[in-house]
């Protein structure tokens, strides 16, 4: 967790101080897209190779999926209502 915080702040400082020459800045978003693909691939690989997930899936897979979907959906509903009513929604829309 600390490494993540340090990485983010280091990035913010680099950005604010304009350390990176203008002509390289446009590569930042390309870099992020490639990074996301790598990250998701390895996330998938560690799930696909995890014995604990595979061995238990038949017994408690359904339970876990229902828990995951319900906690996510109710979070989505409440955050959506709160963001519309109390935080002004998306300004552009």
């Amino acid at each position: 967790m600390w490494l993540i915080i340090v990485s983010l702040f280091l990035g913010v400082v680099i950005g604010i101080l304009n350390f990176i020459p203008q002509k390289y800045i446009k590569y930042n978003s390309k870099f992020q897209q490639i990074g996301v693909v790598l990250l998701l691939f390895s996330m998938g690989a560690s799930i696909g190779s995890n014995k604990r997930i595979l061995n238990n899936f038949s017994q408690i897979g359904l339970k876990s999926i229902v828990f995951a979907v319900f906690t996510s959906i109710f979070s989505i509903i409440i955050v959506y209502i709160v963001s519309l009513k109390l935080m002004g929604g998306d300004e552009k829309k």
Binding site: G11, L40, G44, I47, F67, S72
Partner: protein, 199 residues
């Protein structure tokens, strides 16, 4: 982007299951966390280049806290209903729900205080929650509000799902997402045992 996300994830799962040997997987994990830190650095650079985001955020002020609060309430309500369906005791379903997507930690805590089966349910639930977040973030940002994209991500909105949220939303949402993830992550080790001990 939705298809790119789905394809990379599925390719990863299939090659993890069929192709890649054990030793490559473990080095893949350290490569992944290195890549993640680089990504977060790059997200940070974007934030630094758009300094006005910090002024905008000052205007939002304490309302930023409404996001983690809503996610806590939503997760607990969802967890209670899921537990009700499977006839599980409500203290157990609440503590499974309060992993907020952080599967490694919530799984370990519940294994310790309640046994292997509960720990495994917590672990799997939060693995699936992270997957669900990965698959829905861009859709939610598109169809509902940008802030809503943070909701399924829960505690992971400061690390593994932050690059996806950055891709799908704007700089202001990224900062809110990071704050949300940091707060929820610090609450996981408190809420999981606390809610389990409720009677």
């Amino acid at each position: 982007m939705m298809y790119i996300i789905l394809i990379s994830l599925i390719c990863g799962i299939l090659s993890g299951y069929f192709i890649l040997p054990e030793n490559i997987i473990s080095s893949l994990d350290s490569i992944a966390s290195f890549a993640l830190n680089l990504l977060i650095l790059s997200v940070g650079i974007d934030l630094g280049l758009n300094k006005e985001v910090f002024y905008k955020l000052k205007k939002t002020g304490f309302k930023v806290l409404l996001v983690p609060l809503s996610i806590i309430f939503g997760s607990l309500i969802g967890g209670l209903i899921a537990g009700f369906i499977f006839n599980m005791p409500s203290n157990l379903s609440l503590s499974i729900a309060s992993g907020f997507g952080w599967y490694s930690l919530s799984g370990v805590i519940l294994s310790n205080i309640c046994g292997a089966e509960a720990g495994t349910i917590a672990f799997l639930t939060n693995v699936f929650r992270e997957l669900f977040a990965v698959l829905t973030i861009s859709l939610l940002a598109d169809k509902l509000t940008k802030i809503t994209a943070i909701a399924p991500a829960g505690a992971t909105s400061m690390d593994t799902t932050l690059p996806l949220i950055a891709e799908a939303t704007d700089e202001e949402t990224v900062v809110i997402s990071f704050i949300n993830g940091a707060l929820l992550s610090s609450l996981v080790p408190i809420l999981v045992p606390l809610l389990y001990n409720l009677k």
